[in-house]
Amino acid sequence: MAQGIVTLTSSSFDEIVNSSDKPILVDFWAEWCGPCKQIAPILEEIANEMPNQITIAKLDIDEHGDIAGRFNVMSIPTMLLFHNGEIQHKVVGAKPKARLLEELTPFLPAS
């Protein structure tokens, strides 16, 4: 796992997501998902480039399917942006970096 990316589990999910002082983007992914692999490097870049504005977290749905079920995730990759424990935005499907940032930026603090 790249530096700066948080790995979430069923037991750590609530504590980490609710206590994050920055918006936290949770990437629901699995090993067998091709599009998930394509966006992994994009998420690493965002984590490295914008550490003060956003936290990037990943949740393996194979291991922690209960969390995916709780948020009605029916397709991966799905990315949920949380702030103060509330869902701010939902992104379904792999997207290029520019388009992903365009969607997320309105919900992030200014750099």
Binding site: A30, P35, M74, I76, P77, G93, P96
Partner: protein, 314 residues
């Protein structure tokens, strides 16, 4: 990376990456503009990125996962010096040489071009279809099948890819309805037998999906008979669409000769298009075979055609 290249390859499925391996080994330092991430078949690596086990690619007797195979293609091209840009070409100008290719405002030029943009899955084109993607309607069985454990779901289509998806989905779903427009399957014999012998698969012949229902997520669909137009409801929470493909040739409209269906035309027995120095390979010019191995083969042919053509320009 300079913006002037000997060859630019547009597309990165089996055809594009094979032409990259060959042109790289011929010291042509190809630039591969590989496309951008998406969850449809229009993405770097091409249609195999959305498949699971590939059983018919020679050299892999145990089978290999589609994304893994494409990753290996890419590594092999990179090993010999191919360069990659993970973006989409937005405009081309093949009227004069060097040829020009744009990614938004960035211009790249090349002495030759290999077009390997492939084909992508057709959608049903029904109202609400796009808003239900990710909420029951899926373009990627391998990505989403997991979420339909013990659900009843449907696959639309009668070709190899429809059967392959239906078979894959039986691992999760309690029942898979296969919606087939005609009274026969287009799929190869081995795939047909697998579908017909799978007790979790129920085939609906002479049927098409005419409506999608459900507010936040898919709850049911309406089936319409293709013979008498009668309709019936089918309660499914997942709908996987595998009804065929369209070539990714929008960029080349009015530039390269194509069939009415949009597939590029190549000169008989070669990969030459109507423009000297522009070559086409893979599914973008093939609606007959459409296999990873035939795409790879034509990618190799395009690289050799391109290399020989470049030699004759000096």
């Amino acid at each position: 990376m300079s913006n002037a290249h000997k060859v630019i390859i547009i597309g990165s499925g089996p055809a594009g990456l094979t032409s990259a391996i060959y042109t790289a080994r011929a010291s042509l330092s190809p630039l591969v503009i590989e496309g951008e991430p998406s969850s449809t078949s229009d993405q770097p690596g091409g249609q195999l990125m959305l498949t699971t086990e590939v059983e018919n690619f020679p050299g892999f007797p145990e089978g290999i996962m589609g994304p893994e195979l494409m990753m290996r293609f890419r590594e092999q091209a990179a090993r010999f010096g191919a360069e990659f840009i993970t973006e989409k070409v937005t405009k081309v100008d093949f009227n004069s040489r060097p040829f020009k290719v744009w990614i938004r405002d960035t211009e790249h030029t090349a002495d030759s071009i290999i077009v390997a943009t492939g084909a992508q899955s057709l959608m049903l084109d029904l109202p609400r279809e796009s808003e239900l993607i990710g909420h029951g309607v899926s373009t990627c069985a391998t990505c989403d099948g997991f979420f339909f454990r013990n659900h009843e779901i449907a696959v639309v289509g009668g070709g190899d890819s429809a059967i392959e998806e239906a078979m894959f989905l039986t691992k999760f779903a309690s029942k898979v309805h296969l919606i087939v427009r005609r009274d026969a399957l287009r799929a190869s014999r081995i795939m047909q037998e697998r579908a017909l012998n799978n007790e979790k698969i129920q085939i609906h012949w002479n049927s098409r999906v005419s409506e999608l229902h459900g507010t936040d997520k898919l709850e049911s669909v309406t089936l319409e008979s293709t013979t008498d137009g009668s309709t019936s409801p089918l309660g499914v929470t997942g709908l996987f669409i595998a009804i065929g493909h369209k070539p990714n040739t929008g960029l080349f409209t009015g530039v390269l000769d194509m069939e009415d269906s949009g597939y590029l035309l190549t000169r008989e027995g070669s990969t030459y298009t109507n423009i000297d120095g522009v070559f086409a390979c893979g599914d973008v010019q093939d609606h007959v075979y459409r296999q990873a191995i035939t795409a790879a083969g034509s990618g190799c042919a395009a690289a050799i055609d391109c290399e020989r053509w470049l030699e004759h320009q000096h």
